[in-house]
């Protein structure tokens, strides 16, 4: 039943007042006392649990409406309930990164006079996928509906799905080739897309005519609207039960409680101080088809982060010193940066209690204007911002983890998330119809190691704490490729006392199509975009793509000859080259080529996580198990970890503890003999720095950082005792 507003909403004034109260009191909406919590803590907790149950149940219901394997299989969806001002009170599981981005979307509409035009009325549906308004990237399409009770706006219900096809210049959701906003795909900019609980037909038609695979987007829209209506009706029924005044107060106390809990948790789990770390990202596109010559084709980004934990428990993250935005798809808006912060906090600190926007309020992000974290140009593309977000928040996880280790909560220390390159595709499907899709098995990379155990193998990405690669059979129903292999990549976790989680590699046979466009996004080159901790090594850099065009695979199959099911462990000659005839392709960086057709073979490797601790301390028995099960090679066990393996009578590897001890003593002695004092290395390196004797991309990286950041310039100059500006020719 629709509920007509009795009076002008004036929600904009309310939002401004709420922000003023926060500024004045330091507490959310001026809530300095948690009166309702103190009156009846059990009722308080029970109500929040109910709200969370509404969210979880609405999301699960909605996933059954969706046609997209991304949402149905992998769970690329989140829903949340908000205050009238747009602050999250409770949320479901799923892609929690969007809980705060939706908050920005709601506030943006309020600030931009949506009360007057197009008006906010009961039954309205608003949608957005514009990252400068509030999302991470174009495929993250969000829908919100207002919740009215007794003629008053009392909250919002919101839902986000990651769309597998966004209608951009290249197929799929994460539009790899987008170099500015106008090639990213279908934008819905804080638009009223439905009224009276129904999506507008003209909006659906626009989607149907501008997307390669509209069934995903349109049914996801219906799923999101259904979940929002479900949450809205549940909240209204709850208000009937507890009274409107109680709801208006308790919903704000929930958030203030969340804010206080985050500060308390920081004081409980960490150590105050300054933490620093960095990572890098390399983008190589020279000579690749489709890229417009708008900037340098190959570039290197540095991502330094300084995190301060204050004694009152506030976490402040500062990205000063990083690179400017560019004509590529990997820029990020402050909304996306917020989202990355929120989802990381949810996994590492804010995992119990009243999980909501309060946690975000206990943190601060410093995003230098003009950098990829906060572009000063709203025309830039953000279609694949995860490419930089994931490495950046991997650094954040390592910084937080150092604080956990210092405080003694070693079980929470985690070497961090990694970038996980995604495959986008389109063309003609195996059914002879046009199609487009992002393959979401990338949502199961290897995780960084923990400080007490190995990382998760093929089971983690940063954006969704419930990572899932999906079933092969479901993916095969949705694309003209058949799996001929999906296997663990040996040695793909970073080495260490505890190794990083391993990645996997998929090998496909293109089938029943004469036009399959394959594009990969978030694909770093030439550098490590992850790291290790406390002596652990980074996981290997992103792997090159290997493919075979016009292969003889059908002939081999007919003759019962062995096929290639993976690329193997010889970096100089892959299994594809050993087993298959045809045109062999090895391609660095994003994969953008002419369409594939039936009989071609394509491989794509995901990333593993960084290691923890000194490799020479790894457990030999566990390592034997790793070798037996294909996570490590025997060669790596011996040459990197110093573990000597024998074989038992059945040929399985068994650790030789005595020989291992001797071998490790030799390795440690060799390590010491090989190492030189840092001061000696620095003296030599300084000469190279003074001469700026670096690759052009490295020089450009330094010049850009120096131009944008006085702090980076000062630190660089002080460290090397040089004038950074003149060294790199910066005016």
């Amino acid at each position: 039943m629709l509920d007509k507003p009795a009076s002008a909403l004036r929600i904009r004034e309310r939002l401004l007042e709420s922000e003023r109260l926060m500024d004045e009191t330091g507490c959310y909406d001026g809530i300095t006392e948690l009166h309702l919590r103190n009156q009846d803590p059990l009722k308080f907790e029970t109500l929040h649990t109910k709200l969370r149950a509404y969210c979880v149940s609405a999301r699960e219901m909605a996933r059954r409406i969706s046609a997209s394997p991304g949402v149905r299989e992998v769970g690329e969806m989140v829903v949340a309930i908000y205050t009238p001002e747009g602050d999250a009170i409770a949320l479901s599981n799923g892609i929690m990164v969007h809980v705060h981005t939706m908050s920005r979307f709601i506030k943006w509409m309020i600030r931009n006079g949506y009360e007057e035009n197009p008006q906010i009325r009961d039954g309205d549906i608003f949608a957005n996928n514009d990252a400068f308004i509030g999302t991470v990237q174009v495929p993250d399409v969000m829908d919100v509906v207002p919740i009215f009770h007794s003629g008053k706006l009392v909250g919002w219900a919101g839902a986000v799905c990651h769309e597998l096809e966004a209608g951009g210049i290249t197929p799929g959701g994460d539009v790899a080739l987008a170099q500015e906003r106008f090639t990213e795909g279908l934008f819905v900019c804080a638009e009223k897309v439905g009224e009276n609980d129904e999506l507008r037909r003209d909006y659906v038609i626009r989607c149907e005519r501008n997307l390669r695979m509209p069934i995903y987007w349109v049914l996801d829209e219906k799923a999101k609207v259904a979940s929002c209506i479900d949450m809205r009706e549940s909240v209204k029924a709850l208000i009937d039960e507890i009274g409107l005044d109680y709801w208006m107060q308790v919903s704000k106390e929930f958030i203030e409680e969340g804010r206080r809990a985050q500060l308390a948790r920081t004081r409980q789990l960490t150590v105050p101080g300054i933490y620093r770390g960095h990572t890098f990202y390399g983008h190589v596109t020279a000579g690749k088809p489709g890229y417009q010559p708008l900037g340098d084709p190959d570039w290197l980004y540095n991502i330094p982060i300084e995190m301060e934990i204050t004694t009152d428990g506030k976490i402040i993250m500062d990205f000063e010193g990083t690179q400017p935005w560019g004509y590529h798809s990997m820029n990020c808006t402050p909304a996306g940066m917020d989202g990355g912060m929120f989802v990381t906090l949810t996994q590492h600190m804010n995992f119990e209690g009243l999980v909501n926007d309060g946690a975000w309020m206990a943190t601060e992000l410093k995003l230098p204007h003009g950098t990829w974290t906060n572009p000063d140009n709203e025309m830039v593309a953000t279609a694949t911002s995860w490419a930089l977000l994931l490495p950046a928040y991997g650094v954040f996880q390592r910084l937080l983890s150092r604080s956990f280790i210092a405080r003694g909560f070693v079980e929470e220390a985690f070497v961090g998330q990694v970038n996980s390159p995604m495959i986008e595709m389109g063309g003609t499907s195996q059914y002879g119809t046009p199609f487009g899709m992002a393959h979401f098995e990338c949502a199961a990379a290897g995780s960084g190691a923990l400080a007490i155990k190995d990382g998760l193998d093929t089971a983690y990405v940063g954006w969704n704490p419930e990572s899932d690669m999906g079933n092969i059979e479901i993916w095969e129903q949705n694309m003209p490729m058949l799996y001929i292999g999906r296997s663990i990549v040996p040695n793909s976790g970073g080495a260490g006392k505890y190794r990083g989680g391993c990645s996997f590699l998929s090998t496909w046979l293109v089938s029943k199509t004469d036009h399959l466009r394959l594009v990969t996004s978030e694909h770093s080159s030439r550098v490590f975009d992850n790291g290790g901790l406390c002596g652990g090594y980074p996981a290997p850099t992103c792997q090159k793509h290997r493919a075979v065009r016009d292969s003889n695979i059908f002939e081999l199959a007919e003759n019962g000859a062995p096929l290639a099911h993976h690329t193997g462990t010889n970096p100089y000659r892959s299994e594809l080259e050993v087993r298959l005839e045809g045109e062999h392709v090895t391609l660095e960086g994003p994969y953008i080529t002419a369409p594939h057709k039936t009989g071609d073979v394509f491989t794509h490797s995901y990333n593993g996580g960084g290691g923890y601790g000194d490799v020479l301390e790894r457990d030999p028995v566990k390592t034997a198990w790793d070798v037996e099960n294909g996570f490590l090679t025997r060669q790596a066990a011996e040459s990197i970890f110093g573990i000597v393996l024998d074989e038992d009578e059945e040929g399985f590897p068994v650790a030789n503890l005595e020989a291992t001890k001797r071998h490790r003593a030799e390795m440690r002695a060799k390590r010491l003999a090989r190492a030189k004092p840092v001061s000696e290395w620095m003296a030599k390196e300084r000469e190279r720095v003074k001469a700026a004797d670096f690759a052009p991309e490295v020089k450009k990286m330094y010049a850009s950082a120096i131009k944008l950041s006085p702090r980076f310039t000062g630190d660089f100059s002080a460290f090397w005792d040089v004038d950074a500006k003149s060294t790199f020719g910066v005016e």
Partner: protein, 168 residues
């Protein structure tokens, strides 16, 4: 209030606590008395008497050494004043060629040594590998952690540290 015995904390830190028990600790409310038990466990592990004030790595500690607070390796080697970057006093191996990177990454594609190198920071006394940096050539060595030691002990632990000697 949640609390665990020193033995449990010792096993947890050593990575030898059975997984179901570790999992329960991860899921439970955190134990507020963890820090000093943790430090006691580490103090028993190291072969020296200087009181550990703060662990800053797997085998790296800030400790009170006479009148000074220094960063110390588990083997006893001192890297000097804890406020300075210990890495500058370490030994280093830099992997900046295909050959040396291949030693750690035997079967994968390698980073371009013109764009990226690996720096291994090693205790010059015992050879423990304390930290690995992956950085572009010429990138300043990062000072990982500058703890607010006084603020931590005073405001969070409620046990202020003795002031350092004047002039320090």
């Amino acid at each position: 209030m949640t609390s665990y015995s020193k033995e449990v904390i010792a096993d947890l830190v050593a990575g030898t606590l059975p997984w179901p028990q570790t999992r329960r600790i991860m899921s439970a409310y955190k134990d507020d008395d963890r820090f000093f038990k943790y430090v006691a466990v580490l103090q028993e592990r190291v072969g020296w008497k200087d009181p550990i004030l703060l662990p800053v790595g797997d085998h790296l500690f800030i400790c009170q050494s006479g009148d000074e607070r220094v960063t110390k390796c588990e083997c006893g080697h001192s890297f000097g004043d804890y406020r300075r970057n210990w890495k500058l006093k370490a030994a280093i191996i830099v992997r900046d060629s295909e050959e040396t990177l291949r030693e750690i990454y035997p079967n994968s594609d390698l980073p371009d040594p013109d764009w990226m190198e690996i720096r291994e920071f090693i205790c010059p006394q015992c050879g423990t590998l304390h930290e690995v940096e992956a950085a572009a050539p010429g990138y300043p060595i990062v000072h990982d952690f500058e703890p607010d030691l006084e603020g931590f002990y005073r405001d969070w632990l409620g046990k202020p540290l003795e002031p350092l000697n004047k002039g320090d």
